[in-house]
Structure formats: structure tokens, C-alpha cells
Amino acid sequence: MREYPGLRRRGFLAAASGVGALALVGCGGSDNDSGSGSGGGSDGKPRRGGRLRAAFAGGGASETLDPHLANLFADVARAKALFDKLADYGDDLSAQPRLASGWEPNAGLDRWQVTLRKAEFHDGKPVTAEDVLFSFRRIADPEKAFRAKASLEPIDLKASRAVDERTVEFVLKRPTAEFPNVLAAFGAYIVPNGTSDTAFDKKPVGSGPFRFVSFAPGRSAVFRRNDAHWDGAPHLDELEFVVANEESARVNALLGGQVEYAHELNPTTARAHEGKGRIEIVRLRNSAMQAFAMKTDRPPFDDKRIREAFFLIADRQELIDGALSGAGTVGNDLFGKGYEYYADGLPQREQDLDRARSLLRKAGAEKLKVTLDTSAVAAGFTEAAGIFRDQAAEAGVTVEVRMGSKDSYWADILDSGTLCCYRSGAMPIESHISQRLLTDSTTNATKWHHKDFDALYQQAQSTKDETERAAVFGRMQRRLYAEGGFLVWGFADWIIGTGREVKGVERKAPANTLDWARFDKVWLA
């Protein structure tokens, strides 16, 4: 029974669950979206030096610094400090070059030349094409279950090769116009060629902005500035990650000056301290989609009139106020608000009980009864279910809320039931579609199986021109808006607390993006 990579129960980032993760958050609706871009503008001139201590919820004694095993928020924050990816997600979830300085596809979009920038690992060796291939092959090892494995699936790693020291040619199994998203995939970090599995916990060598100093799993990790980092040396001398699983402990440590940065705070905490001057509260918008998933392949939701009626039943603001304590923005039944390719031209859907009733009447479902599956697996789920039950009652629909087990929730709702609570962390819209909305998607919780929709996805992936591609993604989203299975009612904020001396914290980066939990551009005033 050897170690099984990539398996940790808590705080999964990329998608949905995460026990207390995506802390749901509190106050004030969308009042101040005013954040200052990358902070640099309003925070003054960066000052060099100092040690920043950041508190995260962690994985206890099981924690590892193997970046390919990153699963928890703390893992990702540490991996991001020590390692780099070829690309990473910008604030709109579009892939931004990192270790790659550029990429160029062939005409068929199934061969990509990726050029590496001049960068070196902490041991002074240059980052080469061989390191990239080694890292990707390690992730794709069929014997293991690294989380990024599924994301790298489009690559034919046997056929891919190093053209020269700093050029990799990736051969893909099919045209993939959004291939840079693959390079930015969750956990796709570049490690030196030949790194052994055990080396990561002793003295991990990466190319990231910080070098390894010490690591005690479940307690603390200390890193120091990498002066040779290609993106400029960090401002901080030292960075220490400490683990505090209890939210109240993170807040207390922050208030008591024991840490300068506390990740993942609750809405009530944010409300209590926002604007009080003792600590700064940072809200990262559009971090977690909140939805109800309707199974479109079975009654009653195989009738698109009923799906539309459900879209019209939801009072989205009430759901946000109740289930997210107001800390979020309303959704429009589409994933990825604010992200690249998001169809933001569609009218905002509002509650319209009369039309909902008439749609239900037309569908012959006036006394409709449905069961809504929920579980305490994510913050706000049970509250959202209760609120929606009451809203549905006003339209004459009886919703029976059924509590499921936390442990097996995501597996249970995948195939059984008809309606369930759903959530997802940030990822590109293209990834959301490929993971959840194609006939062969492995986690298709709405059972959205449409050959013509699959074909549109292939078309988008085979379209080189970005405007044309955006138009195809737009068509797909219009279809989902009209009759899809996800009733996306909101997007939760992600809340972070920092000491008042901490400057340069990005305020617009949704969780999971490059600038979230990133410390190389942060300084202590």
C-alpha cells in the first residue's frame, strides 16, 4: 500500500468541494470592487526586506512539497513559491506565459512549439526542454493519480520531443486551440529532470521566486528570496507558511500580530473587521461558482420548459444574502463570470414566478415534486437548498431537501438524483465545458449529452482565430443559458485578511489564478 498521489480530502481547489474551503463569506454585496489592480498603484513604492508569515488551513502531517501532489490551498501557495509552471491563469483565467516565453501552433493546431525563457533552478542549472518533458511525463504516469493528469490528457507525450535546449514540441492527440490552458493546468509545475519522489520533502529544487529553507509538515514551511528569479527577485527576504486549520485561530493570529496574512476567512469575520483599521480585508470576486445542477436526461428536467421554469424561480440575490452571507455576486446560469470568453451580453435573469408557473403549466407539471440533494460538503450548500425550497414553493413546486453524506457527495450526485447543489472553483470556461458538458466528460453532473454541442466544442478547439473562437464559445453559452442544466445563481468571494503593513496583495485575482496566494510581489511597508 504505497502512497497514492494527489489524494487529499480537503480543500480541493480546482473544482468543487473543499470542506471549509471557499469560505463563504460575508458582507456587503458588490460595493467595493475598487481594488487597485495589482496593488502597486495605491500601495506606494515596494520596500525590500522582512519576513512575512502567512496562515493557511493545511493538511496536517500528510503535507508534502511535491508540487504535482498539490491539492490544498496551502499546497498550491507553497508550490507557487518554490516552482513555476509554463503558463498560469491571469485574472480572467486566460493563460499567461510564465516559464514559457511563447507558443506557436501549426496550422492544424495539433502541434505546438513552446519556447522557454532563460530561467534557472535553485541549484543553478538552467530550465530546459528535458525538464519540461520529465515533469509532464511524471504527472501523466499511468501508475499514479496526479491531479493534473487529466488536464495533460490531450498531449501525446511519447511523440512530443525537445527540439533544442529551450524549445519543446508538443504533439497533441487532436486540435486544441486552447492548449495554453493545459500548460497552466492545476499542478502542472516544472521540476528538474530526474527528481526522485523523496527529494521534494528533503530539499525541493524549483525555479520559483523562493528557495527552500525548512519544512515541517502540518506546521510550517520557511522559504527565502531567490535573487536569480527570472521574474525579478521577490521583495520579501523570507516567507513562512504556517498551518492553522481553525478559521478563528487564523483570525486571532492575525489580530495578535503572529501572522501578517490569513487565508480563507469567514463572512462574519470579514464583516466584523472590515474598515475597522486593525486588519485589511481583501475580497477576491468570482472565485467560486454556486449552482443547482439539473439532470437533463431524466424527468422532470428532460423537459427544457421545466429547466427554464427553474431558472425563473431562483431569486439570486436572496440566495447570495442567505447562503453566502451577502459575499458574492449574482450568476446568470453560466459558468465563469468575468472570465475570458464569458458571454456577458446576455440579459441578467431575474425571478419571474408568473412565467415560471405558466411554463410549468405548459409542461403539464403544475404540482411538480422534486428532491434536491445537498450536503454539508461545502459552505452554504444546505442554506441554499433551504432558501430555494421556499422560493420554489411560491411557484407551486414542492422541493424536498435531502441531506447526503459529506464523504461521498460528489460521487453520489454524479449519476443519481435529479437536482443537486453544485459548486466549482475558478477554471477557464473551456475546461469547465470539457470536464462537465461533453458526452464523454467524466464529471458530467447535468448529463448534458448533445452531439451537436460536442461538435461545437471541437469546432472551437479547431479554430485558430481568436474572435471566431470566441463566437463559437458564445454560441455554446447561449445554448446553455437558454436550456442548460446548471442553474448558476452566484459567484462567491474569496476572503483574505492581511496586516495593515502588507502591501501589493492582488485584489482582483479569483482563487486558483496566478496572482492569488502569490507572495513574490508582496512587501511589508
Binding site: M1, E3, R10, G60, A145, R147, G218, A244, A249
Partner: protein
């Protein structure tokens, strides 16, 4: 003394049987947990192929009795198996976390006995008078406050308002002795309820003992009050208190979860919480066995002590 020796031997045998029962029970209970560990571990990526791969990697496809046999054989060599999530040996989890918990428990007990017994004796000495009523009502009041609430209250007042003490032990790791100030609040929270229960038990026992015929007889012999109280009445009052103390130590070692979480102390409670949250079954099983064995040993010790203080307990044991 052969009576005592055979009694101790019987008691030890019973302890051994209890330990075996604990091992089997722990295994059976973790087997009976709802939901498959593989499903739980797959979390939000419930891709059936992934779940099957996990199940195979965890050996969950082997029959339960085979896994129990392997595990029990390992336990005999102090091999607790390996964590599912990190692959590190479970024994290293336990040994790393034992120090902080032992330190907390040790400090708490070291303070608990004098304070608890002292308050109990004091209350009994002034039975029905102001001191007694004060001690009794305060201990009853504090006992009614859950640790979590009490901890939050102490942190808010002493750490965040008055700034006398650090609010948590975050960043100190296992080197808690190097930061004694960080230990004050956790130990206070841990002490709060046991002090109350212990002092009330001692008070009740003392009052009973002081009203007993043998104390009256001792008084009639003209033995000084202090000697009657401390040499005759107290040992008898201590018999139930020793049992309670064993339970308290046990609770301290296993049940400091709330305090460890609140003050970020990386002890056994934290390990247990993480392991349960991650469905790291070997770690949960290993901890359960350690806790079970500690319980058996402590109760054995408490019985022996009770036996010394008040030999009549032999009958009950």
C-alpha cells in the same frame, strides 16, 4: 501480599484482553464507516476510473480479514502501517504529535491535582459557609461553559484586548517549551472543567469521610483536626477522585482536539482531526489503538492507586 499480586495479575490480563478488543473494534468500526474510502478520497473528481484506481492502490479490493491479519501482525512489531495520503509511516505521525499533547496534558495534570484537591478540601472544610458556596457556584458555573467558548473568551480578553499573552501557538511548531507564554491560555482552558469536577468530587468525598464513624472515633481519641482531615479523611475521599483523574488524563490525551485546534498546537488531536477529514484510515486506526491502550493502562494505574488508598476497592475491581 499474594492477594494483591493475583489481583494485579488478573487486572493485567483483563487489560490485555481489553487491548485486543480495542484493536478488533477499531478495525471493525473503520470498516463499517459509511461510504467507501476510495469514493471519499476521490472527492470532487468522482471519475469512476479514478475511484477504481484508488481502490486498487489502497488494497481495498482485498478481503477484510486479510487486511485485519496484516495490520494486527504489524501492530505486534509496532508497525502501524503507512498513511494513505502521504505514504509516511503512521508511527512517525504519532511520535511527532505526542510531545505537544503530552506537554499540555502533563502541565494540566500537574496543576490540576493541587488546585482541584485544594479547592475541594477548602470547600469541605468550610462546608455550607461562604467559601464553600463561592467555590461550589464558581466551579459549577465554569463547568457549564464548553471549552471552545471558554477558549474564545480567554483569547479575546487576554490576548486581543489586554495583549498580555499570544493568542495562538502558530509558528512555534513543537517547540512549545521555548514559548511558555503561548501555553498559558491552552492550559487554563484544559484545566477549567477537570478542576471543577475534581474539586466537587473531593469536596463530596471529604464531607462524607468527615461525617463517618471512624473520623468521629479518631476525633474522640483526640487526634488533631488537621491530621484527621489529611491523613484519614482525604485518602478515602481520593478513591473516587483517582478514578476521575484517570479519566481526565485520558480525556486530556485524546480529547484536547478543541484546544489544539483553537490554539494551533500540533498534537495528537490535530493529527486525528486531519486524518478523519482526509479519510486517512491507517492513521485513524493507529491513533485509536494508541488511545485505547492508554485508556487501558491509565485505568489499570488508577485501580492500583485506589487499591492503595482504600483497599476495599478490591471487591469492585
Amino acid at each position: 501480599m499474594s492477594g494483591l499480586r493475583s489481583w494485579a495479575a488478573r487486572r493485567l490480563l483483563l487489560g490485555g484482553a481489553q487491548t485486543v478488543a480495542v484493536v478488533v473494534l477499531v478495525f471493525a468500526l473503520t470498516e463499517a464507516l459509511p461510504g467507501d474510502a476510495a469514493v471519499a478520497l476521490a472527492g470532487d473528481q468522482p471519475d469512476p476510473a479514478r475511484i477504481a484506481a484508488i481502490r486498487e492502490a489502497l488494497d481495498l479490493d482485498r478481503p477484510a480479514y486479510e487486511r485485519l491479519a496484516d495490520w494486527a501482525t504489524g501492530l505486534l512489531h509496532a508497525d502501524f502501517g503507512h498513511s494513505l495520503t502521504s505514504g509516511r509511516p503512521v508511527s512517525s505521525y504519532i511520535s511527532d504529535a505526542f510531545g505537544p499533547t503530552l506537554l499540555l496534558a502533563g502541565l494540566t495534570v500537574a496543576l490540576l491535582v493541587p488546585v482541584g484537591v485544594g479547592l475541594g478540601v477548602l470547600a469541605a472544610r468550610f462546608e455550607g459557609r461562604f467559601v464553600d458556596r463561592l467555590i461550589s457556584s464558581v466551579t459549577l458555573g465554569v463547568y457549564a461553559v464548553p471549552e471552545f467558548a471558554f477558549g474564545v473568551l480567554l483569547v479575546t480578553v487576554f490576548a486581543l484586548r489586554l495583549d498580555w499573552l499570544p493568542p495562538t501557538a502558530v509558528g512555534y511548531g513543537t517547540d512549545l517549551l521555548g514559548h511558555p507564554a503561548a501555553l498559558v491560555l491552552p492550559v487554563l482552558v484544559l484545566l477549567s472543567r477537570p478542576v471543577c469536577s475534581l474539586s466537587r468530587l473531593v469536596r463530596a468525598g471529604m464531607i462524607d469521610a468527615l461525617a463517618s464513624p471512624y473520623v468521629a472515633q479518631a476525633r474522640r481519641y483526640g487526634i488533631p483536626g488537621a491530621r484527621v482531615r489529611y491523613a484519614h479523611a482525604l485518602p478515602n475521599a481520593m478513591a473516587p477522585a483517582a478514578q476521575q483523574l484517570a479519566r481526565t488524563v485520558d480525556w486530556l490525551l485524546c480529547g484536547v482536539i478543541v484546544v489544539e485546534a483553537l490554539f494551533v498546537i500540533p498534537g495528537l488531536g490535530t493529527v486525528l482531526m486531519n486524518a478523519v477529514a482526509e479519510r486517512d484510515v491507517p492513521v485513524v486506526q493507529g491513533l485509536a489503538v494508541v488511545f485505547g491502550v492508554i485508556t487501558v493502562v491509565l485505568n489499570l494505574g488508577a485501580d492500583l492507586i485506589t487499591h492503595r488508598f482504600a483497599p476495599r476497592a478490591e471487591v469492585a475491581a
